[in-house]
Amino acid sequence: MAIDVLYFAWVRESIGTGAERVEVPDTVTSVAGLIDWLAVRSEGHATAFVDRDRLRAAVDQVFVSLDTPIAGAREVAIFPPVTGG
C-alpha cells in the first residue's frame, strides 16, 4: 500500500524532509503501527518518534488519534501538537 507521509515542524526537521512516499506492508494497520514501522528507517525518524505523547496525526487531512486504522489512507501526516493563533 503506497502512502504519502507528511511531516511538520520539529518532526519534519528531525527527519530531514517534509514528505515521503512509502510502500507500507499489510501488517501495518494503524497510525501508531505506521510510526513504529517508519521509526527504523533512519536515526532522524527514530529521534522524531521517540516520545509518542508529543505526536499528533491526520489521515487524509482529518485529525485522528494514533490508534486510528490507516486502511485505504492515501495521506498520513505526523506532527507535534499545534500552536497556531
Binding site: 491526520a58 487531512q61 501526516a77 507535534p80 497556531g84 493563533g85
Partner: protein, 145 residues
C-alpha cells in the same frame, strides 16, 4: 458568509472588517493575535499544513455559524516569518446581536489554537525553538465542548 484565508501577506484589518459588515448585522466581534516582542522574540515563523489547515478553519467557521446563527465568520491567518507587532491571526464574527458574535469569536480563537495545523517557531537572536503547546489552550478549547 464564511471567509477563510491563509496568507503570507500582512493582515488588512480595515478591509476584512468592512467585508464582514452587512445590512442585517448589528454586531461585529473580532480577535487579533499579535507577535509579542516583550520576551526577547525577534522573529516568529508560522508553518502550516496546506489544504488541511484551510479545511480545518472552514469546518470551525461552519460549526460557529450553525451554533450561534451567525451572519458570518472570517478567519485570516498569516504564515511565514513575522516580527514583533505583526498580526498573526484575525477572527471576525457577525450576528444580529452581540452575545452570539462575542461568544462565537472566543470559540473560534480557542478552538483554532488547539485544532488547526499551525506551528510556531520563535527566534531570539541566533537561537530558534519550536513553541510548545500549552495546557491552558486545551482547557480553553474544552470549555466549548
Amino acid at each position: 458568509m464564511i471567509r477563510v484565508v491563509v496568507q503570507d501577506a500582512p493582515i488588512d484589518i480595515a478591509a476584512e472588517h468592512a467585508a464582514a459588515e452587512a445590512p442585517d448585522v448589528g454586531a461585529v466581534a473580532t480577535f487579533t493575535g499579535l507577535v509579542r516582542g516583550d520576551d526577547g522574540v525577534t522573529e516568529l515563523a508560522l508553518e502550516h499544513y496546506p489544504g488541511a489547515t484551510e479545511r480545518a478553519l472552514e469546518n470551525l467557521c461552519h460549526e460557529a455559524v450553525d451554533r450561534w446563527s451567525l451572519a458570518g465568520a472570517t478567519i485570516v491567518h498569516r504564515v511565514g516569518p513575522m516580527v514583533p507587532g505583526d498580526r498573526v491571526v484575525f477572527v471576525a464574527t457577525t450576528a444580529r446581536h452581540r452575545g452570539a458574535a462575542l461568544d462565537a469569536c472566543a470559540f473560534l480563537i480557542d478552538r483554532l489554537k488547539t485544532g488547526v495545523p499551525f506551528w510556531k517557531r520563535e527566534r531570539r537572536g541566533g537561537d530558534a525553538r519550536w513553541v510548545e503547546a500549552r495546557a491552558g489552550d486545551d482547557a480553553a478549547a474544552a470549555r466549548w465542548n
